[in-house]
Subunit: 434 residues, 2 copies
């Protein structure tokens, strides 16, 4: 039985989970693969920490080059994350003829073109199923399962931390800061949560999915990104009254001349399947022209789910090596030299939720709606509760579809009115998610 | 650019949809494939019907052998369904060295071993993504995406017709016969709906999924099958009161010594993701030991969704031919010579919903619960509404986990009591679906 030697750089949560899966399910995987995979060398800066698994001491090293320079290793797992030195490690491994498996979405979103070009140049493959959606086989599904389809749209809940925080804010009517603190305490959020809660991690994943779905090379700067830190319990409550849930969504639409790519808190109908995705779970809702709507759901983070995706890539790559198969798996869209035309957020047309903070005086509603009307924005419904003389009250509106630039111009005019006492809150709405 | 010639037998709804997809998305698919697929011959008994697509008249034939005997055709699509002549066509095509793509779940469930053995013998591959879940890439996801996992359990809504009927019965509080009639009128149910509503189609699909998930060869006779024709609006209503939805589920559990395989109306917690799958949609909820719970959702039937899956198999097969790749894709579990040990329904342990129709007399509840207790069945909750002297009333119970054989013995005893005026209704409950 053929045996393929694996190298691992990054023996953290995901790395340790991969080793655990390879050990626990060794005979099962061997049977499915028709061969053996052997962990040959493991590099990490910390060789002391107890990871709850047994690894022969002699395969551990503190020097990544011990893995990269080992000619026996056929497949490298890069599981350290971040840009450098991950990028350098991957390029060096590829140059040495090693296939690569990575979970590194930040790296692929920012340097994907370079890395996929290197893979082509050196005739190696790169598996990145683990980079989006944790254990959900979404990369395979997009590239293979839905290959017959022109992708019309995709909507993704791609960041478990943000979805966990929004879920608890919704269920417990608590504020962002309070829930974030608790999420940090429970290990669901990092000490510095910026990447997660400000939508950056979601944008990285959207860049990867959009390249596959729409066949374009995505510049991260072309993705409009807004996080969840400004979402308030009040907006969540009003959303509910209008029949919506607020989710941090990655949105990609390919049915126009330009592709729409954006990440922001989004109001989704409460009965939509994506609205029912709670806690740390991820889901990707994709509509293709032939298949119609589909959804893929699972744990988007964590060692074992992400490890499941890493090992699926290992089996794929090692299976080919064992069977003597070469030349599978080009990644054309990810090395496309021309960038896709991405619609600016100003051009995007959606309904909006607007929460004005206005003094409760006669004529206020008419003034606000007058400005909106002047900018071609028509109102679908209004909620105004409570009457407080001298105090500002919330006036909440759902608009019909309006253009981003029109909304911005209207709000900048409205925010200058002396009856308006705080910056107006804006949340984009997706009413017909198909 | 290389061109691969395709043959099609069965120019019905799915066949026509495949041709439509190949035409509509020709340039997109060509780009993704790195080559061309050309429809070379199409056989059907009906060559006159307008299918809404243009096909060159000279490629049409009424004789399937024109397709099977054509040495230029590299891949055969078998889209006629049913056992014969589909089986003979596929075996003949394989013998002639053609790869095969099929959507034929009945054939694979009943003659899979023979067909996969033939594929191995003749060195060809068979794509069957379209056989389960329509456009949902569940076969690929099980074989590749989740390959790192020991599959613990799978729960599938695999028949669109049954789910459509149950959804409307739930929403409209109507009876099975009435909704079925309407479904037939609307084209969601066949004139003879037996295969769909009696769970047989679902069992075929479960046999295929279970072979992949649990690595066993499944004898259809080992799958316990009960359809939805006996489900009443009354039971749906009581289910709601207990916090459940009734779904026709394919259930596979692999976490014991024997594999559990069954198809029956099942009460699922109303907030479970599968409970929110409505109408003709399908979904497969799979838990793996590493990945945890996942769900795959989409349209389980219809021309274009099923066509999407067929074309994904075509691209897979033709991609290998174009790249000169041979030897991928064995289907070990489906040709496994040893059958898996499947747990008999008598041994299955679940909670039960029981609806007794009893005369409303003092002591009735105590008599019934006495018999249940004697057979080791403990009651979790009871609903008894209405008081009608001389008339039978429903008494509804949820039991704790009980063994199938115990329940059957208890019910056969209870059904003989003179206070019981109709056969007791039994619905299995899945409380903790993970």
């Amino acid at each position: 039985m053929k045996e393929i030697k694996l190298g691992l750089i990054g023996f953290g949560t995901v790395g340790a989970a991969v080793v655990k899966i390879l050990q626990t399910n060794a005979s099962l995987i061997e049977q499915r693969l028709g061969g053996k995979m052997r962990l040959h060398k493991v590099a990490d800066v910390d060789l002391e920490r107890d990871r709850g698994i047994e690894v022969p001491h002699e395969i551990l090293t503190a020097d990544a080059n011990d893995v990269l320079d080992d000619p026996e290793i056929a497949v490298l797992m890069e599981l350290i994350g971040g840009i450098e030195p991950a990028r350098a490690f991957i390029l060096k491994a590829m140059k040495a003829g090693k296939h690569v498996v990575t979970a590194n979405k930040a790296l692929l979103a920012q340097h994907g073109a370079e890395i996929f070009a290197a893979a082509q140049e050196y005739g190696v493959r790169i598996g990145f199923e683990a980079s989006v959606g944790g254990g959900i086989p979404i990369i395979r599904s997009l590239r293979e399962g839905l290959v017959a389809n022109r992708i019309i749209s995709l909507f993704g809940i791609l960041n478990g931390t943000s979805n966990y925080i929004l879920t608890r804010m919704t269920q417990e009517k608590k504020g962002f800061r309070e829930v974030l603190k608790d999420a940090q305490r429970l290990g669901y959020a990092e000490a510095d949560p910026t990447l997660d809660v400000e939508g950056i991690d979601t944008a990285h994943k959207l860049a990867i999915l959009a390249a596959l779905a729409f066949g374009i090379r995505v510049d991260l700067n072309d993705i409009f990104v807004e996080g969840i830190s400004a979402v308030t319990p009040l907006d969540i409550q009003y959303s509910s009254e209008f029949g919506y849930r607020i989710k941090l969504l990655a949105i990609g639409k390919g049915d126009g001349e330009k592709v729409e790519l954006r990440v922001h808190p989004t109001m989704l109908p409460v009965h939509h399947l994506l609205s029912t995705v709670e806690g740390v779970y991820n889901a990707i809702y994709i509509a293709g022209d032939a298949v119609g709507p589909t959804m893929f759901y699972g744990q988007g983070a964590g060692g074992l789910p992400t490890g499941s995706a890493v090992v699926s890539d290992l089996v794929d790559l090692c299976g080919d090596i064992i069977k003597g198969i070469k030349g599978r798996g080009s990644h054309l869209p990810l090395v496309a030299s021309s960038q896709g035309a991405v619609k600016a957020i100003d051009e995007v047309v959606t309904p909006y939720y607007l929460r004005f903070t206005a003094l409760d005086r006669p004529g206020v509603l008419s003034t606000i709606s007058g400005v909106l009307g002047k900018h071609e924005i028509s109102i679908a419904s209004v909620i105004q509760k409570g009457r407080m003389v001298k105090e500002a009250v919330p006036i909440v509106m759902m608009t019909h579809e309006a253009k981003g630039s029109d909304i911005q111009r209207a709000l900048s005019e409205i925010n200058k009115l002396d009856i308006i006492r705080a910056k107006t809150t804006l949340i984009r709405v997706e009413g017909n998610v198909t």
